[in-house]
Amino acid sequence: MSEEDLIRPAGSRSEGSVPESAQRILELADDELILGWRNSEWTGIAPFLEEDVAFSSIAQTEIGHARAWYELAARQTERGGVDADALAFDRDPDEYRCAPFVETRLVPDWARTIARHWLYETADAIRIEALKASGDPEVAGLAEKIDREETYHRMHADMWADRLRDEARFRGAVDELWPSALGLLEPGQRDRLCEIVGREPVEANERGEHTEELRPLWEEMTMVRRSVPGASW
């Protein structure tokens, strides 16, 4: 991404100057940012105080990972001048590369929240494993670090999925979210996900088109920042 691209208002930038590797990193960063944002909607209202604390903690780790990926993407752009905050907040909603899976608002539905949490963490583990073998040492190193933290998210997600496995509403939620969950991964990684969660492949809800929920989310996420353009906060 060039400096010129960044000083133009959001929405008028082309993605042409962003290298393909940085685009792939932005997918990861955007997934983590938007899911972290959705998870932080549970702050203060989870079914147990302990879960409130847990979801806040998970949301923080996800936002932290998003920041690390954005920083890496910023370093890999053509010139300096773009930082993690600019990538996280100053793009037009259409420029985000997150999967539809992470965009949906699920509060106060704990069954769907746990279904997404479990499917996301399981799929993310597959993705991170592949990134750890990346030829780019920065990507591999960061994936290694992130994987250590994600271990705890997986333990939390597995515990809850196990606890709710006999609940009809949880099973229904997994059915409903399954095509979107597949869309999180590259086609070649999907068989592995089917194998781990014990489900048949279906047509995936692919990355590329956004749900109607992304724009209102973006409006809220950037409202303070847009209120005084260019200011430091």
């Binding site: 932080s40 203060g44 209202i45 105080l49 905050d85 907040f89 409202m223 200011a231």
Partner: protein, 303 residues
């Protein structure tokens, strides 16, 4: 019988006044136990209700760093309520009963959490000044006669002091920013000054306050307010902000003079008639109802 009880109460009062600590399993007068439950439960409620004015701004935080910091701060507050309700639980009132009473409007929470957070300036002022006012009360509770409560206050105070640093950092970023940003802070200080001055309560004489006689509290309300003014008004002025009280000044003897806070407003607000009371309790009722099935499922598993 009555005489005996009174004698025991007097002995108990002398014991705690002499610095004696009370543990969960110790014998204690019923009045002391119920006063503790009421006081500590309100503290737990306040931590939990204090989450709501800030949670919506987690979603609007203008940078990744601010979003992380605010999420961590709010998470601390939920963690505090968890710790505090555990103390209440050991005294005989289960957490679920505390939450039921809270959403039913039967118990109270601090005045400042009944007001709206209108801008990012409010978020900064809450983290800086509301938390500063709160830490003054909480530090005084480190000397509480009920030892389990005093012990958790160490962790709480330690974390709250970080919140103040976070708040001050948000304030400084705004005050060194644009005119619009400075205006956000000034408007927020003006909005929050009244509730802040009411925060520590009426200047009730310590000897008339049973909480003081039992050494549940060990600081008079007015002492807490003076400490707040002395610690923060100079900082507010130094930043070029104005406090909306023309009478506010520090006398030569070190005592701060100020306009009489609106005690009717305080009473009105904490008895459940604040501008956001019903909406926030309603929100909590709604989320509690929506997630009731989860608690049933988990508790059935545990049974």
């Amino acid at each position: 019988m009555l005489t005996t009880v009174r004698l025991e109460d007097t002995e108990f009062e002398a014991y705690v006044q002499a610095g004696g600590a009370v543990e969960t399993g110790d014998a204690m007068p019923d009045d002391y136990r119920s006063a503790l439950i009421k006081f500590i439960e309100m503290h737990g409620n306040s931590e939990l209700m204090g989450v709501l004015p800030e949670r919506e701004w987690i979603l609007r935080a203008p940078t990744l760093q601010r979003k992380l910091a605010l999420t961590a701060k709010v998470q601390d507050e939920v963690g505090h309520s968890q710790l505090i309700y555990r103390v209440v639980e050991d005294l005989g009132k289960p957490r679920e009963a505390c939450l039921d009473d809270l959403v039913a409007g039967k118990t109270k929470f601090h005045n400042v959490f009944h007001y709206p957070t209108k801008t990012w300036g409010d978020v900064a002022v809450i983290a800086w000044l509301v938390d500063a006012a709160a830490i003054i009360s909480q530090k005084a509770l480190l000397k509480c006669s009920y030892a389990p409560y005093a012990r958790i206050m160490k962790k709480i105070c330690w974390e709250e002091s970080f919140h103040i640093l976070h708040g001050r950092d948000c304030i400084l970023a705004l005050m060194t920013g644009t005119d619009e940003q400075r205006e956000l802070v000034q408007e927020a200080v003006t909005r929050w000054w009244g509730p802040l001055m009411q925060f520590h309560g009426n200047p009730i004489a310590a000897e008339d306050d049973p909480m003081y006689r039992w050494r549940i509290k060990s600081q008079a309300n007015e002492d807490a307010r003076q400490q707040f003014l002395d610690g923060y008004v100079p900082q507010i002025w130094e930043l070029g902000l104005t406090v909306p009280d023309p009478k506010l000044r520090k006398r030569d003897d070190g005592v701060w003079e100020y306009s009489e806070p609106d005690w009717d407003e305080l009473k009105h607000v904490v008895t459940g008639h604040g501008p956001k009371t019903e909406e926030r309790l309603g929100f909590r009722r709604w989320s509690r109802e929506e997630t009731a099935w989860v608690r049933s499922a988990v508790l059935a598993d545990a049974a």
